[in-house]
């Protein structure tokens, strides 16, 4: 059975830092990105681990560091050795209290699904001030042996199921370099710098060389929720319009229920445009006016 990220990194603790922190190419790239930030920027390290090397470099260059990680053990270590504010939270559920000047997501995306990865890119854009910087660090799918991965045509990426890693088994997701460039563009980022290099972990039981791919990108579109970008002219012009009622009984949304409840708490005149009176989700919130 594969381990989830929380179990995995609670188990690894300091051993992860010992294996992965000593990466001169990575440290150089992070320092270059940090130099591109205004002084005393608010920066977020997503999947901060033990805080070394990424958060530590950012803090040592005078930036105001916030780190999040799914593992309490990692957060405890980071808090003990790096100046910053560290919090145990799953990146998929995180909502920052303010907008960031920079976001760093380095080697922390392996254990989420392709759909979650794509969604996170849009969320990072929402967490960033316009014109500010994102750094990602991943292993590209192009560096993996084809016989060890499965192609996922829906997301144009590769998946590695039950991968043996640091004494455990994990399910991992890998996009190609081109795939990452496309996804960043979709969410309104413009790539400014990238670097690819081999890295061998310093661990007695895990010394397989892997490829690390780093990208520095700038948020160029103010509103990621109106993506994907860029808009292509004449797109979908020839597509026939299909009537779809997405409010199927399987649809679940606490957010939508809360929004409808909020509306229905007020004595307001409400007009709903759409083929929706049969929707159970909506019927809980509204009566259909019998006549007008």
């Amino acid at each position: 059975m594969e381990a989830d990220a929380e179990t995995l990194f609670d188990y690894l603790g300091k051993r992860y830092e010992d294996a992965f922190a000593d990466s001169p190419n990575l440290c150089k790239f992070i320092a270059t990105a940090a130099q591109n930030l205004p002084a005393q920027s608010k920066v977020l390290d997503v999947g901060c681990g033990t805080g070394k090397p990424v958060a530590n470099i950012l803090a040592s260059m005078g930036h105001d560091v916030y780190g999040i990680d799914i593992s309490q053990e990692m957060v405890n270590i980071a808090s003990s050795q790096v100046k910053g504010t560290f919090q145990k939270v799953d990146m998929r559920n995180y909502k920052p209290a303010f907008l960031m000047d920079g976001i760093f997501v380095v080697l922390s995306l392996f254990q989420i699904t392709p759909g979650e990865t794509y969604s996170m890119i849009y969320q990072w854009s929402q967490w960033l001030k316009p014109g500010c910087l994102l750094v990602i660090g991943v292993t590209p799918s192009t560096s993996l042996p084809e016989n060890e991965v499965t192609y996922d045509a829906t997301w144009d990426c590769h998946r590695q199921m039950q991968k043996p890693w640091m004494d455990k088994y994990t399910n991992e997701t890998f996009f190609s370099e081109d795939g990452w460039q496309r996804m960043l563009q979709d969410a309104g980022f413009e790539s400014e710098l990238s670097s690819t290099f081999p890295f061998t972990p310093n661990d007695p039981d895990h010394q397989s060389t892997e490829i690390h791919y780093l990208v520095l990108a700038r948020k160029n579109e103010a509103q990621p929720l109106l993506g994907p970008y860029p808009y292509v002219s004449e797109e979908n012009k020839e597509q026939p319009v299909i009537r779809r009622n997405f409010f199927d009984d399987r649809l679940v949304s606490d957010d939508l229920s809360a929004l409808l409840k909020q509306l229905s708490c007020r004595h307001e005149q409400i007009l709903v445009l759409g083929d929706l009176p049969q929707s159970k989700l909506l019927a809980k919130q509204f009566c259909v006016a019998s006549n007008k």
Partner: protein, 177 residues
């Protein structure tokens, strides 16, 4: 025209052409458009109509809900050759926001809401069959199961019981300036 019944407010529902709404002007505090933009032929006239029936008050709202760019369901529709792709949701929303702005509803806020289809079946084959049926209902014709089922199996390896269908809520109000 509307009121409360057992604590639940009544809403008027209308699914005809938005370009011609059978309601009096200056009537509604909230006009709620759910996944309506694909079916509108003349966006400018449709938005002018929603503005006409909205109350000219600063607390009046025109709320539009469409798909988020990261919807997994939309991804299946757009990348599986035997399924029918969905229109670019961001562009539809951007166009409606521009027309609302031109009509004075220029105070706009966008938020993303989490929404998903739930598949609680314990057997993965059954889950894939149910998801395949759902996706086929959103397409012009039945899907090619040989193509879709392996994709769904991979999906459920990671997201065991859900297909995400995030949505964007666009709320426009009259500008106070």
């Amino acid at each position: 025209m509307t009121g409360f019944r057992q604590g639940i407010p009544e809403a008027q529902f209308f699914d005809g052409p938005t370009e011609s709404l059978p309601f009096e002007s200056d009537t509604f505090d909230v006009v709620f458009m759910l996944w309506k933009l694909e079916y509108i032929v003349d966006v400018k006239t449709a938005i002018q109509e929603t503005v006409r029936v909205s109350r000219r008050a600063f607390d009046a709202k025109i709320i539009t809900i469409q798909g988020a760019p990261d919807s997994e369901l939309s991804r299946f529709l757009n990348t599986t050759p035997s399924l029918s792709p969905i229109a670019h949701q961001g562009r539809l929303l951007a166009s409606s926001i521009e027309h609302l702005r031109a009509e004075g509803f220029s105070d706009n806020e966008l938020t993303r809401i989490d929404t998903h289809y739930s598949f609680l079946e314990t057997d993965i084959e059954e889950r894939c069959n149910e998801a395949s049926s759902l996706l086929s209902r959103f397409s012009a014709s039945d899907c090619n199961r040989d193509e879709l089922i392996p994709r769904l199996k991979l999906h459920f390896e990671g997201s065991r019981h859900a297909i995400g269908h995030g949505m964007v809520v666009s709320t426009s109000r009259l500008c106070r300036n």
